[in-house]
């Protein structure tokens, strides 16, 4: 379980204010909001790249404030291509397993398992240069999941892809979730992507979470006109 309690932080002139969110095991949270709402800034705090914040970030009973990114056990899928260009596809998948000193035979079997699941088995020997955008994100998702992280964090992972690849990868992510049952925190500005993947939704605006809850609850009872309009809902705000 990841719990954010009253987290506030400053990023230049931008402020993140009073973020409260609890992510239980197995839930798929999507944080949705317009550009500049503070979604990616929140992920920086969660992943440990922004140490200066007030409030509490807990994993179960452990305060994550002094835990460095490499010890947080978070699988991160970035918006941009971050596959290591000096390693092959298989080399990229092996990287987190080698760091954990997993035996060579298990590394190979796990690489094959995840490559099969992400349909990148024929790419294993390929260099990163020359892969398509869709292939890159498939490898990135496989690499982020292969070491079985406690939570998968995705920062607008499909924003650079064309419509078809986006739909295809969303479906595969859903399939992977059924297989591995991972917990996820996914940031997007696309409401379609949010509705397609989320078990829970958090809507952000100007550095604040304006509504959070199960996907059904948010859809049926939007907290404000902004939420209703941003999510394109027909139902009207409660108050």
């Amino acid at each position: 379980m990841i719990r954010m309690a009253d987290i506030s932080s400053t990023f230049g002139s931008f402020q993140l204010r009073g973020i409260n969110l609890t992510i239980n095991a197995g839930e798929y949270w999507v944080i949705v909001g317009p550009s500049g709402a503070g979604k990616s800034a929140l992920l920086q705090i969660v992943s440990g790249f922004k140490p200066g914040y007030s409030g509490k970030l807990m994993r179960d009973e452990v305060d994550l404030r002094s835990v460095p990114p490499e010890k947080r056990n978070i699988g991160f899928v970035f918006q941009q291509d971050v596959l290591f260009p000096h390693r092959t596809v298989a080399g990229n998948l092996r990287f987190p397993l080698e760091l954990r000193k997993i035996p060579r035979s298990e590394i190979e079997s796990r690489v094959e398992e995840y490559a099969t699941k992400m349909k990148i088995l024929p790419l294993l020997g390929r260099a990163i240069e020359g892969l398509s955008g869709g292939e890159i994100q498939r490898v990135a998702i496989a690499r982020a999941l292969i070491f079985k992280p406690e939570i998968l964090v995705l920062d607008e992972p499909f924003s650079a892809l064309d419509h078809n690849s986006r739909i295809e990868l969303q479906e595969e992510l859903k399939g992977l979730r059924k297989t591995f049952g991972f917990t996820a925190l996914h940031v997007t500005h696309s409401r379609d992507e949010a509705f397609s993947l989320a078990s829970h939704l958090a809507v952000m605006r100007s550095g604040e979470i304006v509504q959070a809850g199960s996907c059904e609850a948010v859809r049926s009872s939007p907290a404000s006109t902004f939420v209703s309009e941003f999510l394109g809902l027909t139902s009207q705000p409660i108050a």
């Binding site: 992943s47 790249f49 490499e70 991160f76 970035f78 941009q80 260009p85 982020a144």
Partner: protein
């Protein structure tokens, strides 16, 4: 005409020469029909004009019938193909017009010409002209070295290499420059990484200070080292007390080399680290790698080519350093010091083979280091112009 020549009261050629020229002209006429489309008058006219010039220069001006025969045959053979004709003109220009710099001009012009042909045909005229002017300037810069390279035979170089003082000087140069490059790498790599990854107040000034060894005259640096570490100085006396001699020892040479060559590796390494996007490091951290492991497994391999390039430059600067070493640590003699001593003792002709030998060793090592870059893993350096960032 050739028959007329034969019956001239004072024949311009001997009978044999006249006969050879007759057959050459016959061959030229016969071949020209194939090479030049005679119905295209401009081209045929250019062909004849070129042939006339060749005749005028080689026979009338220089009176070299055998050379004319050789070049006339080449001229006809190469006229129809642009590249080959270019090679012919370079050959002609170098060996007929640019004597006594025939080999030098031939090599430089051929390099220029090949470079010209390798420039993409879609490149704009301005870029092409800029490149060519730049390449021509580069060729002129390299001319003295190339000219030096043409002066001595392999035998005289081997004889020079047999001299024990020459061998010693080369060994001292190679050894000290490698040690100083290693020391520089150990210091410059982490320093450059810090510079590339963090902006701080005064960073601009630190960058200027890094350039200082380039700005300071090497003789000034030599005097500065003598004042700080030389015999009789406070630090020099302290080190002497511990049995560590600095001025006039290997240690002194290495210190001088490190000083003069440090900017090259530091600046290259900073540029190489800046070219590695921080997001790769963030990805590595989230995958479980510590900061140091990320540096060793991700950042350093991706920056390695740029760093090695800087190291090669630093090494080259170290091994060729003279001004600072001659004042601060002129003994044991490095190769540049020996060249200088030899020049003072016996003049340019005596020091030339030594200089040449040293040039060959430096160039060979430099090429090796450049070649080694290509054995390194993928690099983010030197992406093709127009490639996606």
């Amino acid at each position: 005409m050739h028959v007329g020549f034969a019956f001239f009261p004072i024949a311009p050629f001997s009978v044999a020469t006249n006969l050879v020229l007759f057959f050459v002209n016959l061959f030229v006429l016969f071949s020209a029909g194939y090479v030049v489309d005679v119905s295209r008058w401009k081209k045929a006219g250019a062909f004849l004009l070129g042939y006339g010039l060749l005749f005028g220069i080689l026979i009338l001006k220089f009176n070299k019938p055998p050379l004319f025969v050789l070049l006339a045959v080449l001229y006809v053979g190469f006229f129809g193909t642009k590249q080959l004709f270019g090679f012919f003109l370079i050959f002609f220009g170098s060996f007929v017009l640019f004597q006594p710099f025939a080999f030098e001009s031939f090599i430089l012009l051929i390099l220029l010409y090949v470079a010209y042909w390798r420039i993409d045909k879609n490149v704009s005229g301005f870029v092409r002209a800029s490149l060519l002017i730049g390449l021509a300037g580069l060729a002129l810069l390299l001319l003295p070295l190339l000219h030096l390279g043409m002066q001595d035979s392999i035998q005289s170089l081997l004889r020079t290499l047999e001299r024990p003082d020459v061998r010693n000087a080369i060994a001292v140069s190679l050894g000290t420059s490698l040690v100083s490059t290693l020391i520089l790498a150990l210091w410059a790599i982490p320093f450059s990484y810090g510079m590339a990854r963090h902006d701080f107040a005064g960073k601009r000034m630190v960058e200027s200070l890094i350039d200082m060894p380039i700005l300071v005259p090497q003789s000034v640096a030599g005097v500065a080292f003598i004042v700080l570490l030389g015999p009789g100085s406070i630090l020099g006396t302290v080190f002497d007390g511990y049995g560590i001699g600095i001025s006039g020892t290997y240690v002194g040479i290495v210190i001088a080399q490190v000083f003069v060559s440090s900017p090259f590796i530091i600046k290259s390494a900073i540029a190489a680290f800046e070219a590695v996007p921080v997001r790769y490091e963030m990805a590595s951290r989230t995958l479980g790698a510590s900061e140091i492991r990320t540096f060793l497994s991700v950042t350093l391999p991706l920056a390695s080519r740029g760093i090695l390039f800087g190291a090669a430059l630093s090494w080259a600067r170290s091994i060729s350093e003279f001004g600072c070493i001659v004042l601060f640590a002129s003994s044991p003699a490095t190769a540049p010091i020996l060249v200088h001593t030899e020049f003072l003792r016996a003049g340019a002709s005596e020091s030339r083979p030594l200089a040449m030998l040293f040039l060959i060793i430096c160039l060979w090592m430099f090429f090796l280091m450049h070649f080694a870059q290509h054995l390194l893993p993928y690099s983010l350096q030197r992406r093709k112009v127009g490639a996606q960032p």
